[in-house]
């Protein structure tokens, strides 16, 4: 909008019913303005009186604002409540029962979730004296005296007869070879492999058996407390 399109302050005051008449330059526009307003007012159709009936008809089926206010006030204003002690006690019992039941239900429901594996403390197994926890394996020492051997190994049912076997260690200049193995409780057959080729039964074993192929295996029975000698 340009300045030329604005009424000056004096003209605005005049339109407000105060001040002096406008300058000649504004007079034509002022007349035009008043004429336009008059034309607009003349054509303006106010809201019809029929709206009154339409409004009241529309309100006929609605809740009264008094009821709406009553609902609101009931919620926001304090109330004096009178209760019989017996009813109050029953209500308290019911409430407490409900709370306990809810708590129990929540506890049962939440248990798997509330105890993740990582959070479970690792505790040692309880010890109940005088019970004795028996070992699953017993240490057994194998020994062979052969001063001429350059190497000695052990093969048996406990290692699947695998060759070249479990090596024995030579103990000094006595010619004694030995190894200690953890063996499960039970019967085991075995033999020594001397210098990588000679199958030799254990001369100190409590029993010897024929393996059905012309060879002799030594036998030991391992009990919870050690080798059982017949």
């Amino acid at each position: 909008m340009t300045d030329a399109m604005e009424f000056n302050e004096s003209t605005q005051h005049h339109l407000d019913g105060a001040g002096t008449p406008p300058a000649a330059a504004d007079r034509a526009d002022l007349d035009r303005y008043r004429e336009a307003l008059a034309a607009y007012r003349e054509a303006l159709t106010p809201v019809s009186a029929a709206v009154d009936e339409r409004v009241m008809a529309a309100l006929a089926g609605r809740h009264s604002p008094a009821r709406r206010r009553a609902y609101w006030h009931w919620f926001v204003e304090p109330h004096a409540v009178s209760v019989r002690p017996a009813v109050a006690a029953a209500a308290i019992v019911l409430l407490a029962t409900g709370l306990l039941a809810t708590r129990a239900w929540l506890a049962n429901r939440a248990l798997p979730v509330a105890q993740p594996i990582a959070a479970v403390p690792t505790l040692p197994p309880p010890i109940h004296a005088p019970d004795i926890v028996l070992p699953e394996a017993v240490l057994v020492r194998f020994e062979l005296h052969d001063p001429n051997a350059t190497r000695v190994a052990l093969a048996g049912s406990f290692n699947g007869w695998a060759s070249p076997g479990i090596p024995l260690v030579k103990g000094g200049a006595t010619g004694s070879w030995s190894v200690t193995l953890p063996l499960p409780v039970g019967e085991h057959q075995y033999g020594f492999i001397v210098n990588g080729k000679s199958w030799t039964p254990d001369p100190s074993a409590p029993a010897q058996v024929d393996d059905g192929f012309g060879r002799t295996n030594s036998v030991i029975v391992v009990g919870p407390r050690g080798v059982i000698n017949p």
């Binding site: 526009d29 004429e35 336009a36 607009y40 009936e53 009241m56 309100l59 709406r68 206010r69």
Partner: protein
């Protein structure tokens, strides 16, 4: 609406003879003695005399009927906007904190409905064919129509606040003080809004040869 019930609002009819309510039309609506104030009517409606809401409807329709027509843009839109405003006011009547200023409270509801209706109407009018309008035949009528349309075009360029002030001052002929009381806006601010609106109208009128 049941005229029998209207003639004997709850709690009034049997205690005394009712006189026609001043400021109401034609005999259907009655009330006791002197004219009830807006605040008194609101309180009695809230107390359960819901039929008395008609008094507020009639008063506000008379006071703001032209304003609504001007702001909404056409009579049908104004009728619908005013009806909706009354229903909303009724539903929310308990939230009217100052019943003695009911008209100011209602005026805000009405103005909002009119602005919304005007925006919706403007979108719809753009889809209509202008050639369907009935032509004015005489030169005088053509000029009057152009002047009227210049006002309407100027109103479109105004902000909602400027439009309210302009219509209340220039179309309704209210004083700045009355408008200030109604809108809760200072007189100086109202004058600025009206001045800007007049300037916009002058610009539109310059476009008419």
């Amino acid at each position: 609406m049941d005229r029998e019930r209207l003639a004997q609002p709850q709690g009034l009819g049997r205690r005394r003879r009712l006189a026609p309510l001043p400021g109401t039309s034609g005999g259907g609506l009655v009330a006791e003695g002197p004219e009830l104030s807006d605040g008194e009517v609101v309180r009695r409606v809230l107390a359960g005399e819901t039929e008395l809401f008609r008094i507020l409807v009639e008063r506000c329709r008379r006071d703001f009927g032209r304003y609504a027509a001007s702001v909404a843009g056409d009579p049908d839109t104004a009728n619908d906007a005013m009806q909706e405003a009354f229903i909303r006011a009724y539903d929310a009547l308990a939230t009217c904190r100052d019943p003695d200023r009911f008209k100011s409270w209602f005026f805000r509801i009405l103005t909002n409905r009119c602005h919304t209706a005007r925006s919706k109407r403007r979108r719809e009018v753009t889809l209509e064919n202008p050639s369907m309008q009935a032509p004015d035949r005489t030169e005088h009528r053509v000029e009057r129509r152009e002047l009227r349309e210049a006002i309407e075009a100027a109103l479109e360029t105004l902000t909602p606040e400027q439009r309210e002030a302009f219509v209340l001052k220039e179309v309704e002929g209210r004083t700045y003080e009355a408008i200030s009381e109604l809108l809760g806006v200072g007189v100086d601010a109202l004058k600025m809004r009206v001045y800007r609106a007049r300037d916009a109208l002058r610009t539109q009128l310059r476009g008419i040869t």
